[in-house]
């Protein structure tokens, strides 16, 4: 029931959009929205019978009857913005409210030739990297997206200051669905840092069906960090797709630190030889939180390299899901692809479901994956104890170190320190619970 209701709500919002001036039923935008809606209608909202959603049941989430919202329903105050994570970060802050970019709330570069940030005015240009057919929630986003953000980095530009996109869903009027879209194009040999955060503001529950598309041109270097650190009302289903060209390097770090429900789909395509992809993820959950990370590393051509490390710490009745696919296409020889996934269950009621997956059609490759679930090493605890550190403290140290290993890979100091602090806080909160 909940599933059909959700589709109907999306259809309703689509109809309203098509009555708008810009979305007029004759335009190209209308056509692309309609196509996306058709995809959603055809595949429907996935159930646990769907292999990609085997461990994540959407029915209880969608039972909240989310209604789509486009643009602010009430004004967003500075006080609210300042209360959100990373607001003191020295960065270009871009604020999206219910999927629509708010230049007045954002802190944008003024006539900087290297970097161009603007409202995504031509939505039809989106979808080249994350097509609506990728998954049903990309289709939802493509049906309803309106005024996301477009970021362009000029060729050879070195942008030191991170670009921070904060997407806010306002839920004062009731359970709300928002569909932010971030499209980023990084020119040849340019480098930049993109940070993406999501926030639910309001009394009711919020669901974000977000899509981020990143195009890394030849020789470019992109560090992308997505932080899911929302409140209890936060629900997130997001897709990030990255195209990586010759000699370009993309690093994606995904941190699931708070929020009731998170599903991330990360797709890294190595499109030209010598492209490199690095994927890092950490989930620190408690209560009845769920974090589901699906990653795809697609080696389409020879001589590419990828590394992946995902870790999870699960307490309370939380559920962690990991599915990491590595595809090595025919003729993608000389590929090196490594993946590892490690989990620690901290309570009797926590569950982890992992499915590392290698699909290889070329022979001259070196690929491996490892997945473990277990406890802290008793010998390591003993060692620390023998050095005069109490047992609880030793456990705390090792648990923190387990998670923080992922944060180490974030190159930007302030962002990394923020992650480390949040991990420590979350684990510390656990210790006081007991």
């Amino acid at each position: 029931m909940a599933m059909e209701h959700f589709t109907t709500a999306v259809e309703g919002a689509f109809t309203i959009l098509s009555e708008h001036v810009n979305g007029a039923s004759s335009g190209a935008l209308h056509t692309s929205r309609k196509q996306a809606l058709d995809v959603l209608r055809e595949v429907g909202v996935p159930t646990t019978r769907h292999e990609e959603w085997k461990y994540t049941n959407l029915a209880p989430i969608l039972a909240n009857d989310f209604l789509p919202a486009i643009g602010p329903t009430v004004p967003v105050t500075r006080t609210i913005l300042d209360g959100l994570a990373l607001s003191d970060l020295d960065a270009w802050h871009i604020v999206l409210v219910n999927g629509v970019m708010q230049p007045s709330l954002s802190n944008l570069p003024d006539a900087d030739p290297d970097i161009q940030i603007e409202e995504l005015s031509d939505e039809t240009s989106a979808g080249t990297i994350a097509a609506a057919t990728t998954n049903p929630f990309v289709a939802v986003n493509a049906t309803l997206m309106s005024g996301g953000v477009s970021i362009r980095i000029r060729a050879n530009a070195v942008v030191d200051r991170p670009i921070h996109v904060r997407s806010i869903v306002q839920t004062d009027v009731g359970a709300t669905l928002c569909t932010p879209r971030i499209v980023m194009q990084v020119g040849a040999h340019a480098s930049c840092t993109l940070v993406e955060t999501h926030h639910t503001v309001g009394r009711s529950k919020g669901l974000t069906a977000g899509v981020t598309e990143i195009d890394c041109a030849e020789g470019s270097s992109v560090a992308y960090t997505k932080i899911l650190d929302d409140g209890e009302n936060g629900h997130h289903i997001g897709t990030t797709a990255v195209n990586i060209a010759r000699a370009a390097k993309a690093t994606a770090t995904t941190a699931c630190l708070d929020g009731t429900f998170v599903r991330n789909d990360l797709v890294m395509r190595l499109n030209e030889p010598t492209a490199e992809a690095y994927l890092y993820g950490v989930s620190v959950l408690n209560g009845s939180q769920l974090a589901d990370n699906h990653t795809v590393v697609d080696h389409r051509v020879p001589h590419c390299h990828s590394e992946e490390l995902y870790k999870g710490l699960y307490d309370g009745r939380s559920v962690g899901v990991f599915n990491g696919k590595i595809f090595v296409r025919e003729d993608a020889q000389k590929t090196t692809a490594y993946q590892s996934n490690h989990s620690l269950l901290l309570s009797d009621n926590a569950v982890v479901n992992a499915k590392p997956q290698l699909e290889i059609w070329a022979d001259d490759v070196k690929c491996s994956h490892g997945a473990t679930s277990g406890q802290l090493d008793p010998e390591a605890i003993f060692y620390l104890q023998s050095r005069g550190i109490g047992k609880d403290e030793a456990r705390g140290l090792l648990t923190y170190a387990f998670a923080a290993e992922v944060a180490e890979h974030v190159a930007h100091d302030e962002v990394r320190e923020h992650l480390e602090r949040r991990i420590a806080e979350k684990l510390g909160a656990r210790r006081f619970d007991h």
Binding site: E51, Y55, E330, D331, Q333, S343, L345, L346, S347, D348, N349, A350, V351, V352, N353, A354, K355, P356, Q357, L358, E359, I360, W361, A362, D363, D364, V365, K366, C367, S368, H369, G370, A371, T372, S373, G374, Q375
Partner: protein, 480 residues
Amino acid sequence: MQTEQTALDDVVQGDYKYGFESNIEQDVLPKGLSEDVVRFISAKKEEPEWMLEWRLKAYRHWLTMNEPRWPNVAYPKIDFQDIIYYAAPKSMPTLNSLDEVDPELLATFAKLGIPLEEQKMLTGVAVDAVFDSVSVKTTFQAALADKGIIFCSMSEAIREHPELVRKYIGSVVPPNDNYYAALNSAVFSDGSFCYVPKGVRCPMELSTYFRINARNTGQFERTLLIADEGSYVSYLEGCTAPQRDENQLHAAVVELIAHERAEIKYSTVQNWYPGDKNGKGGIYNFVTKRGICDERAKISWTQVETGSAITWKYPSVILKGNNSIGEFYSVAVTNNMQQADTGTKMIHMGENTRSRIVSKGISAGKSQNSYRGLVKVLKKARNARNFSQCDSLLIGDRCGAHTFPYLEIANKDATVEHEATTSKIGEDIMFYCQQRGISAEDAVALIVNGYCRDVLEQLPMEFAVEAKKLLAISLEGSVG
């Protein structure tokens, strides 16, 4: 009366099956499947009413099921009405000497080192009186009976030991378990039954290879193996010699029950006809194999899969009892157009349960080789321990190797480790071998055997020797 006659028939047909035709019944049902066919098979086997009901229930359930399409294999849709579900054992033309046998087949036999007499038996050449299988069988069965071990065909077991069959059949693989298990439950033709009583250690490796009456049990084979408390049995299935068969679809079911402290070791060498180089013909081998362990019991599966156009099976262990152990050792070789989707499921239910998975996949030619495995640790399975290793070796740039491990962990004390690698045979290793005067083909065989050693050393000795040669033969022509 009847049983005596059948038992005699079994012996006679089994022994000289390819040589004499006079004793073979010529009943062949028309193609197709219906309740009448199920009734016919049951009647033909003179089964009791409960067995018929059981089959019919399975058949009715099968009708409501859909054919699974999730495995990573591709094949044309099977027309289940185009299969003959009951046929008396097929007879092969009698040959007078080995000279009349396909030389290619003989060459394979020679490489496997199969004795001349056995070669004759396998190819249907009239066998010498010297090779007296009847006497082999008699001494064999006397030794077993002495220990109280029941080892016979499934049909015989249903007639002679209905209480055991009724108690255990379908207890591990229920008739409604999956599509092909349901089909098998409805129409299974025969198979093997083994019961090892309490505290008995079976004095020899039980093998279908030597058990004459179980030859040609047809495409829907059913095996039931029960090891009572504290007993031990090692069971070998299959044969390294290439087996050609008219039946394209093989849907077997194997159920193992290991009671408290019992141990079952189940080894398979599968070498059904894989089809020609272009993927024409070949057997579809869709098998459901599962065992259940009581407290402190152990089940160990070892398989060497080299044949079949499509292999699709997951020998599994349900670790129900505390301190029970499950093992799975597998070598799956695919060449040319073969496809394999195989692996295991280890379900940890009891405390301190342990499982170990070692899977070695080798793909060559244009074949596709997938490992698909599940390690599930239930909430109550404290201190469960699993180690899995899945390695894939690629020979040639047109084949595929895929790994789909599922890890579902719901206990914090469980330790689960999974690792997988995919690579090709190192050029430097090949070069080293060749530089020492070893041909490319022999070098591949050498390296592959080393690569599979962890699995091969689990096989009973005589099997292991043949399996090594079999690996080399299966990969012939894949290099150079």
